[in-house]
Symmetry: C2
Subunit: 118 residues, 2 copies
DNA sequence: CCTTGACCTGGAGTTGCTCCAGGACGGTAG
DNA sequence: CTACCGTCCTGGAGCAACTCCAGGTCAAGG
């Protein structure tokens, strides 16, 4: 799979993927003899995960740490589990943030309607 | 209210508040004769709103536009309403993103447990 | 009177992309 | 065979939104 396909499959941009590779967030991607990147199904799965973690606010440093653990094999699973569980908690906090914002917006919108009606 | 209090009341940092003022996201804040900023209750309410909008991903440019509308008075309410309704939709999209991430994480965690059990 | 703490300003530094210039390469059309 | 096109490559500049810092002011307390 070429980079443009990996991009649309993962939701990341082409530039972002190259940037992530350079930054150590994915293992060095294999190249064809033309020098172009070839993404395996495993690579793409990894990109999908990174994309999801990024979109929910995980920091690059954490993702890099997670990537290094992943490359060290199954012995690092407990630590990886810890990270993902921690991120699950982050998701819950973010739901709280969204809910509070929705409340504030609902309140504001109600006030707008009251002003319009008066 | 001094800037440190406005910061802890709104959840924004002191530097962020000053930055927002310079950037036109809040009307110029009144100063005491010592030159220090004095935040009114209205100012703080506004900061709380900005904080919530920022935390849910609204762009500064949009917030600035919203702030300008606000300063122009009640005639801009329909447009402000449009912006806040649009942001409500964003909140829904973000809930979707959180849910999808939670699913991926649950799946990964299950697989970790399977590997550990085998 | 001297120090402490909270504030001020302008500007540099950081994160995480995002875009761009300049160049190579493979496939198709003339 | 050659011209052109689309997709890729690299290194580096640019951008958003903070975040931190140096150097300075001022009021109040010991």
């Amino acid at each position: 799979m070429r980079i443009s396909e990996a991009a649309s499959a993962s939701g990341l941009g082409i530039d972002t993927i190259r940037y992530y590779e350079k930054a150590g967030l994915l293992p060095p991607v294999e190249r064809g003899r033309d020098g172009k990147r070839r993404f395996s199904a495993v690579d793409v799965d990894w990109l999908v995960l990174l994309s999801s973690l990024r979109d929910t606010g995980m920091r690059m440093e954490t993702m890099r740490y997670f990537a290094r653990l992943y490359q060290r094999g199954d012995e690092t699973i407990p630590e990886r589990k810890r990270i993902l569980l921690g991120h699950s908690e982050q998701l819950d906090k973010q739901r709280g943030v969204l809910d509070r914002c929705a409340e504030i917006l609902a309140h504001k919108l109600k006030r707008y309607d009251e002003i319009a009606a008066s």
